[in-house]
């Protein structure tokens, strides 16, 4: 057998009463990696996590950790710990006893337990709260207790179920970074489940996008965002303009797609021949908008500069950026996000103004699925 991945999920299927919750999923995760399962609710990501933890048994397929098959191992015998959604802290135990719970089950001596609990409290900076009960802590503190409890036994694999889901937005941003630091410092391999793409992109080294029990795409955050493999992934992650069209020119170094209102010049070759139906995905922030017709290098007729004229129908000012909705001649709407890098003054676009949108030939992604 060649070098096997640290965590190997092979052809795992889980069905509940004939309904496939997880449909033939295979993932390899390396030691020390932080991996995110991203998807909307009901996509099977939590079921997959629960199978890793041992709360559910796969209908078929294998899960191996460090070369060892986990089939049949009950949750309490698995070398992994989970941080539960909304934490599941034991309400009758103090912070220190919550953290010590798993250590005591290992039959560690009182001294060893106490020193490990101290180390964990220091790690999550909750030393002064050791004697408190969970209900006497804020949401952010409870989250840290849950993290300390799941790290106390030095698990080979840390499972996080919506780790930041129970926190409000402001606290979530701070905690996200802090949690990432702690996980990196400890160096534990980590599989997290989330429906929040920001959470997944900032914390994970690789992301798997799931829908209806299937893996749609696995890759680093920038790859998932910049090079989505399918229409669904492009649409699920971030904002995107999706335009259906036909491939009218397909060369080794460029391609042209006719989408009705817009003729896309794609700056690289596309798999597929003339006449094939494709979808062009274009992120709003990759489009520039202005009153004047954009002229590349003074050449009005250069086909490689993509541009289109339209009427501004919607202007939403977010402070750091502005979102415009540009109505095209054929009735389609193009979403455009413009960074407000310079202070806005005077001549800004308003509703019903005519404007030009333009983007470079490398901005689009051509999707065939």
């Amino acid at each position: 057998m060649s070098a096997e991945a640290f965590l190997q999920i092979r052809n795992v299927v889980k069905s509940f009463d004939g309904h496939l919750a997880v449909d033939d999923v295979s993932i390899d995760i390396a030691q020390g990696e932080v991996f995110a399962l991203l998807g909307s609710s009901g996509c099977g990501k939590t079921t997959l996590l629960r199978m890793l933890a041992g709360f559910e048994a796969p209908t078929s397929g294998t899960i191996r950790l460090g070369g060892r098959d986990l089939a049949g191992l009950p949750p309490y015998a698995r070398p992994m710990n989970m941080m539960f959604q909304s934490y599941a802290l034991f309400p009758h135990l103090s912070v220190a006893d919550n953290i010590a719970f798993g250590l005591k089950r290992d039959g560690l001596g009182a001294d060893a337990v106490a020193s490990r609990v101290d180390a964990m409290l220091k790690l999550v900076q909750l030393g002064p709260f050791a004697g408190r009960k969970p209900h006497q802590l804020s949401g952010g503190q409870q989250q840290r207790v849950a993290l300390a409890r799941s790290l106390a036994k030095k698990p080979q694999l840390l499972l996080l179920d919506e780790p930041l889901g129970a926190l409000d937005k402001k606290l979530r941003e701070e905690t996200q970074i802090e949690l990432g630091h702690i996980i990196n410092d400890v160096g534990v391999t980590c599989v997290m489940v989330t429906h929040d793409q920001e959470e997944a992109m900032t914390m994970a080294g690789r992301i798997a996008v799931m829908s209806e029990g299937r893996l749609l795409q696995v890759g680093p955050p920038d790859e998932i965002y910049e090079a989505p493999a399918t229409r669904f992934v492009a649409d699920f992650i971030g904002n995107v303009n999706l335009m259906d069209g036909t491939l009218v020119e397909s060369a080794a170094d460029h391609a042209v797609v006719d989408c009705g209102d817009i003729t896309h010049w794609i700056g690289k070759g596309v798999a597929g021949g003339r006449g094939q139906r494709v979808t062009v995905a274009l992120r709003p922030e990759k489009i520039r908008i202005g009153r004047a017709e954009p002229l590349p290098h003074g050449l009005a007729a250069d086909p490689s500069l993509n541009r289109v004229r339209g009427i501004v129908k919607e202007v939403a000012y977010f402070g750091s950026f502005t979102v415009y909705h540009l109505r095209l001649a054929g009735g389609a709407t193009l979403k455009i996000s413009q960074s407000n890098a310079e202070r806005q003054a005077g001549d800004t676009l308003a509703r019903d103004d005519a404007a030009w949108a333009s983007w470079t030939p490398g901005s689009q992604v051509v999707l065939t699925k």
Partner: protein
């Protein structure tokens, strides 16, 4: 500036007070006042039933004329002491048995499928549809010499075990023994243990058990370290609902108990109706209430210290 809704609060508050006040007034009139009457009789002579006989204004000083002989007798007479001990003992054993039988019952009921839980609950409450007296009488028949239960117990040879444990005088003699008494009380009071335990266990967050399992606890360890401590409020409520009425139980010892099992309810009856000694009877009653209330008050106070915001 006052909040806008301030004006609307007054009637709401007084309405709330009224709702709380009605049961309090009820308890004051029909529990506290009679109790004070009982307490007064317990410290007076047989004839002295008017307040004036106890508290009197004499020569510019209040003369309180209390007679403590009844309580002195309670403390010194072995008969009373032993009936108190017997009452507490049988009530305690009954409570423990109800807990031992009721806890697993309530546990599996709370973990059963949601759809069948109402039916299970109904079954627990079904005995209440029949008169309590009738059910206790039925045990008399079941445990009598040729009764069904008696024959089953003897058939299994359990009566030898009971006799060896001193719960019955000898094989074949089941009725009017500590055994029949405790059996009857356990049978009667079991639902009062199950219901609060069930409502407590049904509320429990099952993810806590998953968390315990994830951290290395077997199902058995998780039960003792998580489920049992978290159900303490239910155990306490159930134990009180069984223990308190059992201490003062009169009917069941009368029907199923024997000469060995003289309990405080029986003593009360004797003092009132055989001896016609009302002060003594009242002293017995007051002492019984104190015996039950004082430990509970201390206990619930400790409970309050241990967990400030949890019932």
């Amino acid at each position: 500036m006052k909040p806008v809704h301030e004006r609307g609060r007054k009637p709401g508050l007084s309405g709330r007070r009224a709702v709380i006040a009605i049961p309090y007034v009820w308890l004051l009139v029909f529990f506290l006042l009679p109790f004070l009457v009982v307490a007064r009789i317990s410290v007076s002579e047989m004839e002295a039933t008017a307040i004036g006989d106890i508290v009197r204004w004499r020569d510019g000083a209040i003369d309180i004329n209390l007679r403590w002989q009844t309580y002195w007798l309670l403390l010194t007479d072995d008969l009373y002491f032993s009936t108190y001990v017997a009452s507490l003992k049988y009530a305690g054993v009954t409570t423990l048995l109800c807990l031992a039988i009721g806890y697993p019952f309530a546990y599996f009921m709370a973990r059963a499928r949601r759809s069948i839980q109402p039916a299970l609950l109904m079954l627990v409450m079904m005995p209440f549809w029949t008169s309590f007296l009738l059910r206790v009488y039925a045990w008399k028949a079941l445990l009598s010499e040729n009764g069904l239960a008696a024959r089953a117990i003897e058939g299994l040879g359990l009566d030898r075990l009971l006799a060896a444990a001193g719960l019955i005088p000898g094989p074949g003699q089941l009725m009017n023994t500590p055994f029949s008494l405790v059996l009857g009380m356990t049978y009667t009071y079991l639902p009062f243990m199950i219901l609060p335990l069930y409502s407590n266990l049904a509320k429990m967050d099952l993810r806590l058990l998953e968390a315990a399992s994830d951290l290395g606890a077997s199902a058995w360890t998780a039960f003792w370290t998580i489920t049992v401590p978290l159900s303490r409020a239910g155990i306490v409520a159930g134990a009180m609902l069984v223990f308190i009425p059992c201490v003062g139980e009169y009917v069941i010892p009368e029907l199923l108990g024997g000469p060995q099992t003289q309990m405080i309810g029986r003593t009360l009856w004797d003092e009132f109706f055989s001896n016609n000694d009302w002060p003594m009877a009242c002293a017995v009653a007051v002492t019984m209430i104190l015996l039950v209330i004082v430990p509970i008050a201390i206990f619930s106070r400790n409970q309050g210290d241990a967990s400030p915001s949890r019932a």
